[in-house]
């Protein structure tokens, strides 16, 4: 099995000037985007992009690096989305207060379901994650406390700054960008530490990893917990911005599938893969919906499905792999094979 890891496997350094320039340009592009394209619609797309990038990067930790393809991550997203609005509905707290609690709950959920689910491998594991997420979705639809099928709403107008009900998308954009930066930094640190090596070893071969002394079970659980925490944050951010949640928009299977697809499109198991995937997919979705959506023929999803099949069939390593194949002379370092 090939490892499409970034070229900086053994060293994370800013030694090379081109790389520094590259990072600088990327950071500049992300920071300046909403100021350059300042229409609210464009900023909204930017926010959507950031949410997709954050959730896909969060998934990437356990799904990309460790190779545990969870298709049930919506359970953490939904938990992260419901908790803040529940606190608001029950006690009038600003939704933000629910964010840290949601993170703790998600980590708890990860530990509880990780135990039995990680005993399964490959397709079985994916199947189990889908089942648990669906179960939670259906259950939520029957539970009156969380609004059952009707869902929960956030504050319609801001009561104080803490409500984070901004009239403009700009504050949301920068908040979310900060979270993305934090997540990518965390992933980068993980990548170069032993934990990261354990993850990759598990992905390559669990049996071999175990025989080499890798604490497989523990590592998988930690990866899931970390992934769950950030996915939960994404859910909370989503709900702070959108102001509404119901079982489908919180726990729906398409949410899980989107995380996987965005990460896979860019290159799962790489630092910037999910970001790249989001950069391509979010504008693509918005564009095709704008062009074709009004006609109502569902071409957006036909395209979506088609692209996913093509990637799976021809470039499973995502755009990173495509790049490697197409432009070999841009490679500056040897890759771990």
């Amino acid at each position: 099995m090939k490892l499409f890891s970034s070229s900086r496997v053994s060293r994370f350094s800013f030694a090379s000037v081109p790389e520094r320039v590259g990072w600088g340009l990327l950071a500049a592009a992300l920071l300046l985007y909403p100021l350059v394209l300042s229409g609210p619609f464009y900023r909204d797309i930017g926010v959507t992009f950031l949410l997709a990038a954050i959730s896909a990067s969060a998934w990437n930790i356990v799904g990309g690096y460790a190779g545990q393809v969870s298709v049930g991550h919506s359970m953490f997203f939904g938990l992260g989305a419901y908790t803040p609005l529940l606190f608001y509905t029950l006690w009038g707290w600003p939704p933000l207060a629910g964010l840290p609690v949601a993170v703790l709950l998600s980590i708890g959920l990860a530990l509880v379901i990780g135990q039995p689910t990680f005993r399964l491998t490959g397709h079985y594991f994916s199947m189990a994650t889908i089942a648990v997420a669906e179960l939670i979705r259906i259950f939520t639809g029957t539970w009156d406390l969380v609004g059952a099928a009707i869902g929960l709403q956030g504050p319609a107008t801001a009561r104080s700054l803490w409500d984070l009900t901004f009239r403009s998308e700009l504050p949301y954009y920068y908040m979310f960008l900060a979270v993305l930066a934090l997540l990518l930094a965390t992933t980068a640190v993980v990548e170069r530490r032993r934990f990261g090596f354990y993850l990759r070893a598990i992905k390559a071969s669990e049996r071999a990893a175990k025989s080499l002394g890798v604490p497989v079970r523990q590592t998988k659980m930690q990866a899931l917990a970390l992934s769950a925490a950030f996915t939960s944050v994404t859910g909370s951010l989503y709900v702070i911005k959108t102001g509404f949640i119901d079982p489908d928009s919180g726990f729906g299977i398409l949410i899980s599938v989107q995380m996987v697809i965005v990460a896979a499109l860019g290159g799962a198991g790489t630092l910037l893969g999910p970001l790249m995937g989001a950069l391509i997919l979010v504008p693509l979705q918005t564009t095709t919906n704008s062009w074709f959506g009004g006609g109502g023929s569902g071409l957006t999803y036909i395209l979506y499905g088609g692209i996913i099949v093509l990637i799976a069939r021809f470039v499973p390593g995502g755009l990173f792999e495509l790049w490697h194949r197409v432009a070999p002379h841009f490679r500056t370092r040897a890759h771990a094979a």
Binding site: G63, G64, G67, T117, H123, E134, T142, I307, I308, V309
Partner: protein, 285 residues
Amino acid sequence: MVVVQVIVGGLLLGAIYALFSSGLTLIWGMMNFINFAHGEFVMLGMYVALLVVVWLGGGPAVFGIVAACGLFVLGVGIYLSLIRHVIRGPMLAQILSTFGLALFVRYTAFFIFSANFVSLPQTSLAGTVKIAGIFLPVAQLVAGAVAIFLTLSLHMLLTHTAIGSRLLAVAEDRAAAMLMGIRPDRMQALAWGLSAGAAGIAGALMATAYPWSPSVGETFGLIAFVVVALGGFGSVLGSLYAGLIIGLIQAVSAFWLGAIYKDIVVYSLFVALLWLRPQGLMGKV
């Protein structure tokens, strides 16, 4: 006697579940591969039935056969063009391939057939018979009976024919089968054909009794997963028992606990199975 009525209804539907799950379990057993687009095959079978009725004016027998054959060809085609390649690749690609396929098929169906719910015009299977105080809608009765028959036939095909034993050989040990002169690629293509064909004819059978739209594939796919998990991956006979059991559990819990709880019961069972007994009733681990 209401209880008996509930049970009979559950079993009849369960028989259809068994039929369309039998293909899924075959593939799973042979290739350790889950087809996330399986539900869409059932949905396509339903539309084939509609097209046959509208264009050719055929009855249930005709559209059943057309659905089976058409989907068989589709299954083989999908294997040869897509599955055969991704199966050698990373896990992520395998999972994505059929997910993407499911989206593609579902929304192409939306595009062609629109989102309206459709049902077959009354076929020769209309009406209800009453036996010993139990109402048996003819369409459901025939569908259930045919489904059981076909599932058993598939099981017999696998266990009592030469080609069946070749399929099972590949499932058990691909390398050894190759050494025995069996071509795994061909067998796997055949398995995909059988799987899709079974799903297609199950869809055609369901079309006689229930309305549908392109979105039904998602529900059927999930039911198939539950049935396969219970029956055991790889065992067609297991999926027969499991299908009947799941149909029964659904009906009984809908009646006693309430309709919305039936899904919770079935999914909880599913999760419990995956955690406690992943090999199901009759599967091999």
